[in-house]
Amino acid sequence: MIDHDDGTRTPVIDASVHIFFGSNRDLRDVLREPFKSRGFPDYEMDWYGAPGGEYAAGTAGPDGQYPGSDPETVAAHLFENRGVDVAVLHPMSRGIMPDRHLGSALAAAHNEMLVSRWLEHPEYGDRFRGTIRINPDDIPGALREIAKYKDHPRVVQLGIPLQSRELFGKPQFWPLWEAAVDANLPVAAHIEVGAGIASAPTPSGVPNTYEQYAGFMALNFLYHLMNMIAEGVFERMPELKFVWADGAADLLTPFMWRMDCFGRPHLEQTPWAPKMPSDYLPGHVYFIQGALDGPGDAEFAGEWLGFTGKDDMVMYGSSYPHWQLNDLTVPDSYSAQQRDKLCWQNAAELYGIAVPVGV
């Protein structure tokens, strides 16, 4: 719960907390052969690892544990210090592996760790919810992983990397989205860390600065989303829900204006998407709202949030333990409804999380 300036209290769902194995040794303990003896990258990226450190100060564990790896430490930080009631955990994996079997094994190890250490934690498990990592490069393996975890009461979504060799509207991915719909689980795409075969972060190749990387990388969701719309994915799968877990919801508005204006002439090329593109957004598209998102405390912040129906899409996410740790601040110009949606309500509805009594 947090207190707002006007004296009201609202619950807080932190929709984006990143969790990690404590170390490579820790990860290899969970992996089984032959993957246990394989080579794979660490979490830290080379270029574009953040100068000054990837993680916020004070997020390492008391015994030097890797940030985001120790449930007790994370629980204390989130639930005691930061006023969070429920946190949605999203394991980061180890890069997009050319060997999809290895990629799936790494994802599965993270899922085991997520469930056993966090979701079934004796003290804090009831305040954690989880993202099951699946590998879009290995559809059969991903379908097995979904089947294994879909009925776990604290699993609330599936997680995939943002990077891909083909956009998520294309038909090779449809079996995955259909399985997500069957399982009643949203799909969250997040920038995959580590090294691997993902292409350079921007359409012009490698940026010279970290800031350009951090500014641009999240915007890649637009390529996926516009493709999913033009490919008629939401026409075909009306129950599918996607979460863009790196934020940048603000960019949705100008690009949807463009998508709509440009849509009419292109209907003859994409008859499988017969509606106006923006008609495909409600109930299908969600965003984490992070530290880099929004116009700040501008007097029009609430008005802007209403454009394109973004107020029904955004969910507060701290990105704990990253350096751009987002402290929940609600612009003064938000209405009470917008505030509630951001702080907990959109996430509660999307993930089926019951809020604490007394709200």
Binding site: G263, Q269, P271, K275
Partner: protein, 129 residues
């Protein structure tokens, strides 16, 4: 924008704009009624008249290429077929498509073009514009 060279016909009245033979099926004639002209189309033997003015940015609608519309068909290569050939007009600027018979289209019915009543009497085509 093409400009018809004949003197303009008065608006708000009914005019003979052509004989039936002058506008075979699949063709049209642009007649000088109103500021922008009126396009009289023969679609499979039925005549329609539309304003030569696209509601989007004012393009010369009747300079566009009439054709059908694309629908999904999973039984053919490419999964799409064109149906109802020549029943739609597409603006030569931004390719906004409109159904000649109704002046509108499915995706957003409130975007529509001006259409006019057409009658055929004997071999004369009458338009009220």
């Amino acid at each position: 924008m093409t400009e018809p060279k004949e003197p303009r016909l008065a608006q708000g009245r009914e005019h003979v704009v052509a004989t039936v033979d002058e506008i075979p099926p699949g063709t049209h004639k642009l007649v000088p009624i109103g500021r922008h002209g009126v396009g009289v189309y023969n679609v499979n033997g039925t005549f329609y008249a539309i304003a030569n003015y696209c509601p989007h940015e004012g393009g010369p609608l009747c300079s566009g290429r009439p054709r059908g519309r694309t629908v999904v068909d999973d039984s053919v290569p490419g999964d799409a077929v064109m149906v109802r050939d020549l029943e739609f007009i597409y603006c030569p600027w931004h390719q906004w498509g409109f159904e000649l018979a109704t002046g509108t289209t499915a995706v957003k019915p409130e975007w529509s073009i001006r259409t006019y009543p057409v009658r055929v009497i004997g071999d004369e085509v009458w338009v009220q514009a």
